[in-house]
């Protein structure tokens, strides 16, 4: 079970690196926000997988908080850009 988790962590890390490259090459701000959200979701999964490998049940709480902050920060950044374009 733990071998599968470690393999999943490796695959997720590779996906994370690809996402970071996509973040660097993106031109539009909305693509960047979307990629940040994607990276956040991947990190939530990564925290959960690390929690299953090292048997720490507290990691689930931390993953939940991370998902919450990810959600709120995306909304706040999008609202900021919406207001900025409305005042233009």
């Amino acid at each position: 079970m733990s071998e599968i988790s470690i393999l999943a962590i490796f695959i997720l890390s590779i996906a994370l690196i690809i996402s970071i490259f996509r973040f660097i090459t993106a031109n539009e701000i909305y693509t960047k926000i979307l990629v940040v959200n994607l990276i956040g979701t991947k990190i939530v999964l990564l925290i959960l997988l690390v929690g299953t490998v090292s048997i720490e049940k507290d990691f689930t709480d931390i993953a939940l908080v991370y998902a919450l902050i990810n959600f709120i920060s995306t909304i706040v950044i999008l609202k900021y850009y919406e207001d900025k374009e409305a005042t233009k």
């Binding site: 049940k57 507290d58 709480d61 931390i62 939940l64 908080v65 919450l68 902050i69 959600f71 709120i72 909304i75 706040v76 609202k79």
Partner: protein
Amino acid sequence: MKHHIILRIVTKLLIPLILLFGLYVQFHGDFSAGGGFQAGVIFAAGFILYNIVFGLDNGRSILSSNTAKSLMAIGVILYIVVGFLGILLGGNFLEYNDLSSTPIRGQLLGVFLVELGVGLTVSNVMVLVFYSFNDISMEKQ
């Protein structure tokens, strides 16, 4: 944000869960990760999300700036009262052993009350910081 219907409904569904998670972190802090500070921040995050999506006027009608200030002070007072109760009952500052019939029950009660005070203060301070930033940006416009 009048026309973002998906965002509004998702937020409506999510806010009770965020507040419930904040309460879980507060009251389960003895056994798992968490405590008053973290619970206060999560609670305030839920409230700030409400403010962002439904507008500040709606948010301020639920928790006005003055109420937040009083609740913030009540949290600190609760902490200090529990701390000095330890001295009055013949121990040190924040010594909970004499608060209840047995030392273990006293410890549980004391930590519960102190963490409640910390949680109240932190959540209201976070909301007040949010309000103050909003006031600053309103003055600039």
